[in-house]
Amino acid sequence: MRSLRLLPFLMLLGGGSALAQSPTYGIGRTPTKEEIRAWDIAISPTGEELPPGRGTAEEGESLYLQKGCAGCHGMTGTGGLAPGLLKREAEPGTDPWALGRVLPIRSPYATSVWDYLNRAMPLGGEGTLTADEVYALTAYLLFVNGVIAEDEVMTAQSLPMVEMPNVDNWAPLPDWKPGTPRLPGYPY
């Protein structure tokens, strides 16, 4: 590994040919920045992969009808064949976990909503939403679930800053190590 880190220096010395050769097998090539950008669609909780764009809940509400979302998810985000998008009614102070398995309320990160809309919606038209449309639909779903105000504009900067009710209310996955039981003492 250490020798790999020297590669940029070697490249300077060797006139730029060092990077063309991979360390062990030398198979494959370096993707271009454009190739990486085109596929780099998984959105970190930090939002670092989010593209420029903007959208509001009001715009999202129109898009929800225009794009056919209501056909599967119901006119108000509930009652359709597809998973519900609206949290359960509950007393104030209820554990947000109890508000239902609804992505725009249960996920600890608002970026998950953007990510999934962008990669997988609408059914049959996956990948066709523009960045602005995804920001708007995300804003709409966060607004109807009471996470953001109606006039909040969602952008690459504001979306990762949205504090979801479960942000600290979930169990991180275990620190997995090879050759270890999943949960010592369970249940034997």
Binding site: P31, A42, W170, L173
Partner: protein, 425 residues
């Protein structure tokens, strides 16, 4: 899937076949399957499948008398394909299984959300490794096949593989697991080629299908034994299983074995993709059961819906597996768990692979309850549902679902008439 197209079925006159095609060393025509009509008189016209057609000599198919097939999961769930052509979950016919390999055509299918099975041209397919690496890389399929390869037996099991009292057969209770021989490159080989940087503690693996199913995985697993597989059971991976390229994440929940793989990004944290979100838990103990599958086994014969012809000798047979490594012991009980006896492990128990066990049993014609219990190389023991209930302090009268991957013991009740029933409660 039904391959018995009418145009492939031919009417053969045995005499004509004898006269026309037989050469020295050819198989005696009397071995041809008896026709359904029962007509077997020499020279008489009979309906038979022509397994010696040019097409079937080039790529064979099973006998038309073998009808074992996959079914939608769960029982009564959405059909695959549905009215839009989407494929959901489809379970393997474990009641018909022998040995440890699931034939590729019968391997269970799971998809993210429901997907169309993509038709990918391998010449156009690429795998990209990027993110927190010294050197992002992109590979063609031909390039991936130049790397040192490994071939390993591994099961893949869906997290939805759980038994409930409404299910009747082992296909319904346990059919969302399958085992195949996988060939490919270790992901660690590719990651080392790219050079993982400090802080690269996770990967996000992503498919190219229209849903672009993506999951976060810990770097410790990626560097341990994850396969980037291009072959399955001695041939290219089938489209339903991720052609031309998929991850095989040994012993972890099936959804993590990303199909139609096109991208692995090295990242600094759990990304909470939609697939990750689906496995989100509130309780740390519950979350701890989420990745690695526990020790598990099930008797496939006799199993629910089957019928014993009468008292006498039977070889009880089943499958055992664990996400924690190799199966080290399988026990069988024929009295509902009051007493246990060691079953025989057939062949070599491979790590994170289905392992066939058998137990010689003479049924006395009395009602019996058959159970199997798996212990793995880590000493983990498969629990009963009662033990799981006790661990989580669930009162006896309260309905509950086993947390994490359900690896609880499956009981089959043999009624005195020889019929076999799901005895889970």
């Amino acid at each position: 899937m039904d391959s018995k197209q009418p145009d492939r079925r031919v009417f053969l006159k045995r005499g004509a076949a004898l006269a026309g095609g037989l050469t020295l060393g050819a198989v005696e025509p009397v071995s041809r399957p008896a026709p359904a009509s029962g007509q077997s008189v020499e020279g008489q016209s009979q309906e038979a499948q022509d397994y010696s057609s040019e097409e079937l000599i080039a790529y064979g198919e099973r006998s038309r008398f073998v009808t074992s097939k996959r079914i939608p999961h769960p029982r009564g769930g959405r059909p695959s394909p549905d009215e839009f052509g989407l494929v959901f979950h489809v379970a393997a016919p474990l009641q018909d299984s022998v040995g440890v390999i699931t034939p590729s055509a019968l391997h269970y299918i799971g998809t993210t959300r429901g997907s169309y099975v993509p038709d990918i041209d391998p010449a156009e397919h690429r795998l990209m490794i990027h993110g927190l690496v010294d050197r992002p890389l992109i590979f063609t399929m031909d390039e991936l096949k130049r790397f040192p390869s490994v071939t390993r037996l591994h099961f893949i099991e869906c997290a939805g593989n759980r038994s409930n009292p409404r299910q009747e057969t082992v296909q319904e209770t346990h059919g969302m697991t399958s085992c195949a021989e996988w060939t490919g490159v270790l992901l660690s080989t590719l990651l080392e080629e790219a050079g993982v940087q400090d802080g690269g503690n996770w990967i996000v693996a992503e498919g190219v299908e229209e849903v672009k199913g993506a999951s976060s995985l810990p770097m410790a697993k990626a560097m341990d034994d994850i396969l980037v597989a291009y072959a399955m059971n001695g041939e290219a991976i089938r489209p339903q299983q991720g052609f031309p390229l998929r991850l095989v994440v040994p012993g972890f929940e099936g959804i993590l074995s990303v199909k139609w793989l096109r991208r692995v990004k090295v990242v600094d944290r759990f990304y909470m993709t939609y697939n990750d979100y689906g496995h989100l838990r509130q309780d740390p103990d519950d979350a701890a059961l989420g990745y690695q599958i526990g020790p598990k086994s099930v008797i496939t014969f006799p199993s629910g819906g089957q019928q014993l012809p009468g008292r006498g000798f039977f070889e009880v047979s089943g499958l055992a597996w664990s996400g924690g490594g190799a199966v080290s012991r399988v026990e069988v009980s024929t009295d509902g768990g009051q007493s246990w006896m060691d079953a025989e492990i057939q062949g070599t128990a491979h790590r994170m692979a289905h392992t066939r066990f058998s137990f010689n049993w003479t049924w006395d014609g009395q009602e019996a309850e058959l159970l199997s219990r798996c212990t793995d190389e880590l000493g983990q023991v498969q629990p009963t549902r009662a033990q799981v209930r006790e661990f989580w302090n669930v009162p006896p009268d309260q309905r509950f679902s086993v947390k994490g991957q359900d690896n609880s013991i499956q009981p089959w009740r043999i009624a005195s008439d020889g019929s076999v029933h799901n005895a889970i409660s």
